[in-house]
Amino acid sequence: MVVADISPAELRQRAWEAAASVVDPEIPVLTIDDLGVLREVEVVGDRVEVAITPTYSGCPAMNMIALEIELALERAGFRDAHIRTVLSPAWTTDWMSEDGRRKLKDYGIAPPQPSSGRRALFGVAEVACPQCGSVKTEQLAEFGSTSCKALWRCKSCREPFDYFKCH
């Protein structure tokens, strides 16, 4: 890419937008920017440094997300991308954007309650059904199809649904 006539701020913006367009492979309606997984994008010369943070320690999506970021940057003309993982400050569901929460709900996954703290792990007061909005819901299983979700059921419309766990 010819960088000479593009300002550093513009270049950084392009790199950020490319990286931010990557979606979570397990929840494809959310971008890594919505999730709060994308922490930093820096451009130094031809080199792009991207920092991401894992949601859960063992989240298997992280490797794929890193690969997708490299590919997205390459499509945007950045050939020398370096992805590193940062752990601090630890990710919590509070890093998820408002936009992200809305997209989750529209997709049929109850978003995490803005919280937080460790007690949020326990006393989940009420979770609204993403289909009908009723708060007459119950937990079926504490663990769901991915590390970040639990399985719930709505007692009003009878639909089972995923709940993005507070963390």
Partner: protein, 258 residues
């Protein structure tokens, strides 16, 4: 062709980090052995999810140990290319799964400790360990809740489930003391604020476990003789069998990827 074992320069911080990494990997592997065999689908997912959390914690810890050691070792070498005597995990976590009650009581004993331990380690003067702790404590708190609910349900369930849960408590109790042991190598790290003193966690651990046992109508043994050895590489026969499965591929086909 087989891959030989690596050598490790066990400075106090490398050893300390490997011990915690090994706890997480071995317990994670044990839980993964349930995959496809759990009593019901939801529990299959729960056990696999907990295994995933623990293996994730192990990866972060191995990665840090490799960085501190500063040689050619990496997370995969630590996991796949150390012999049983080089493993430093607690004897508790290598105990065979046994029946579902044994697995859940083992999980309760470990998670009640790990939850307190990682919460304490969030204040470590070592920034990486503190960051790993901040992720791990949330996960272990969730595991603790899950294991507690099961132990209560099994203990306060049928005669059969009660007998099995009580049997598991009796069998595993002697392996709990090792979680609170401190040796010379760790004393220096505790004094430097890098590690916390696990003996300080014992009263609260006992209170949590006693509370669950009471709800579950289970009796904790009076016996306070505790088995030790895992931290120094002296293991039960079970770990060798576990490693032969865990390491088989990398030992037989060194560096294999797919």
């Amino acid at each position: 062709m087989t891959a030989p074992s690596i050598t490790v320069s066990e400075t106090p911080l490398v050893l300390y980090t490997l011990r915690r990494a090994d706890d997480a990997l071995i317990l994670g592997h044990r839980l993964s052995e349930w995959c496809g065999h759990a009593p019901m689908l939801e529990e299959d997912m729960a056990l696999s999810n907990m295994a995933l959390d623990l293996i994730g914690q192990a990866r972060e810890l191995y990665g840090y140990a490799a960085k501190v050691e500063g040689r050619d070792n990496d997370e995969d070498n630590f996991a796949y290319l150390r012999d049983v005597r080089q493993y430093r995990n607690l004897l508790l976590v290598e105990r065979p799964n046994g029946d579902f009650a044994h697995t859940m009581v083992r999980q309760l004993f470990y998670a009640a400790f790990a939850d307190l331990y990682w919460r304490g380690m969030m204040g470590s003067t070592d920034a990486t360990l503190a960051a790993i702790a901040a992720k791990s404590e949330k996960e272990c708190a969730y595991h603790l809740r899950h294991a507690s609910e099961w132990v209560i349900r099994l203990g306060d369930g049928t005669d059969e489930s009660h007998a099995r849960a009580q049997g598991a408590v009796d069998d595993l109790w002697a392996y709990t003391g090792e979680m609170f042991s401190v040796d010379e190598a760790e004393r220096g790290l505790i004094d430097a604020g890098i590690a916390i003193d696990p003996t300080m966690l014992l009263p609260e651990w006992l209170s949590i476990v006693s509370h669950v046992a009471r709800e579950a109508t289970l009796v904790l043994p009076e016996n306070d003789w505790m088995q030790q050895g895992g931290r120094d590489g002296r293991h039960s026969e079970h770990l060798g069998h576990l490693l032969s499965e865990l390491q088989h591929m990398q030992r037989s086909f060194p560096g294999a990827t797919w």
